[in-house]
Symmetry: C2
DNA sequence: ACCTGAACACCGTTCAAGT
DNA sequence: ACCTGAACACCGTTCAAGT
């Protein structure tokens, strides 16, 4: 049964009709500007000036809305599973994820937290795509499927660990000269925190990109070695199962 | 000026007076049972049967309450900075953190998320204690302070990455036989997710403790090598700065 | 001085009433 | 059939009124 002809959204329409992408990208913009906790259905409705109830056309509830925002953020990643050089691709993706996290720090809790709320298979597809694509990349590079999954986990764990590390040490008063003041370390009783206090200058010099690259060097070397057939210390060989 | 003599909480008191520990541990119990989102000041007040406003004696607001719960969870860790074998201590702590996460999965978002909201120096001391103690351990083991911090970051990143990995793959229907069904993978269009679907049996067999140990083997070997003076591929030597 | 609870300004979501 | 908005059952937190 053919649907009755729909009036296309002609330029003369007063309201640029809502759609999922607009809703989600506006939500992301709000998360970036006012934070996750302040993103409410009502606030979002106000931003899109529409009835808050209208949003429920595009997400069944707030949790699904947040899942949608997570998907939207992850879609900013471009992963080519057919890349000729898999190490180059993984390295580039790692830096992309890092940039993403720095661009959307308020959304990072979504990235690390949303997957904990839903079993793998029930997650929105956009949240699973990076996993599928990287596993595909690794298999194409020669890993046995089970080893590709193993390698993905190592990579993902390292990457998200790094991001948590880096964002944790972000500084609030970048204009302050003294690193102790800049990090608020003066508040720590030096009796209980002698090392932490004296590490202030080192803490203040954190270079996220460099740290990420150092880790990637080790990680990718290790993975390449497994692929080449060099047996790791006590890891199963690359053709397990 | 001596305080007026206080009536000690005699056993005859009808109400076992509130205190911070009771408030926080009850909050943790609630998080474990009903989840983070359902933990409200009012619900907590009801659980302790007291006026919700009374809780504000022990935490300035909900965010501080959550920080307190985070501290409480982290206090379950026993880290001995004077341990004779630093590798053994780090390994044990890693497993302790893993067990902690499995014991309190609903609190894991707090562990990874709370530190992102407050600059290092302004965080509650209980959240910084593991950092201080592990850095102390590493310095005692012979690391230069800056390298100890570096090593801590690697360790912390790996550990939290692993936990996110493992909790992400937790299964909801453990009684289901077929791994595809158990993980809900039937929902994925096999056109877009060929690898993920075929990996179902491998996904279903995730062994967190083993995976953690494999990673620790590599990590600790790498750290020990840096300590011993063997120069890593392109890492700064152990006596940087 | 401390504690209590009413009141305020919000929430997410349901559902009946409109078109 | 779709959209709208009133209403419900909650929130965190302020603050005036009690003791």
């Amino acid at each position: 049964m053919p649907a009755p002809p729909r009036i296309p959204s002609s330029p003369g329409n007063k309201k640029p009709r809502l759609n999922r992408d607009l809703v989600l990208s506006t939500a992301l913009k709000l998360v970036d500007s006012i934070g996750l906790d302040s993103l409410s259905m009502r606030r979002l409705g106000q931003e899109l000036n529409c009835d808050p109830m209208a949003l429920y056309r595009y997400a069944a509830n707030r949790a699904e809305l947040l899942d949608g925002v997570t998907e939207l953020v992850l879609n900013e990643l471009a992963i080519d599973p057919d890349a000729s050089d898999w190490q180059r691709q993984l390295r580039a993706t790692a830096h992309d994820v890092r940039q993403l996290a720095l661009r959307h720090p308020n959304a990072v809790p979504l990235l690390v937290t949303r997957p904990l709320s839903t079993p793998l298979g029930l997650r929105p597809l956009g949240m699973l795509r990076p996993l599928e694509l990287i596993v595909a990349l690794l298999i194409r590079a020669g890993f046995a499927p089970a080893d590709a999954l193993h390698a993905y986990r190592t990579y993902y764990g390292f990457l998200y660990g790094h991001i948590l590390n880096e964002l944790q040490e972000l500084v609030v008063n970048p204009e302050e000269e003294d690193p102790v003041l800049r990090l608020g370390l003066y508040r720590l009783p030096s009796k209980d925190f002698p090392h932490l206090r004296s590490l202030a200058p080192v803490l203040a010099e954190y270079d996220g990109a460099a740290e990420l690259d150092e880790g990637l060097d080790i990680l990718l070397t290790g993975l390449a070695q497994k692929l080449g057939g060099g047996p790791g210390p006590q890891l199963a060989g690359p053709t397990s199962r």
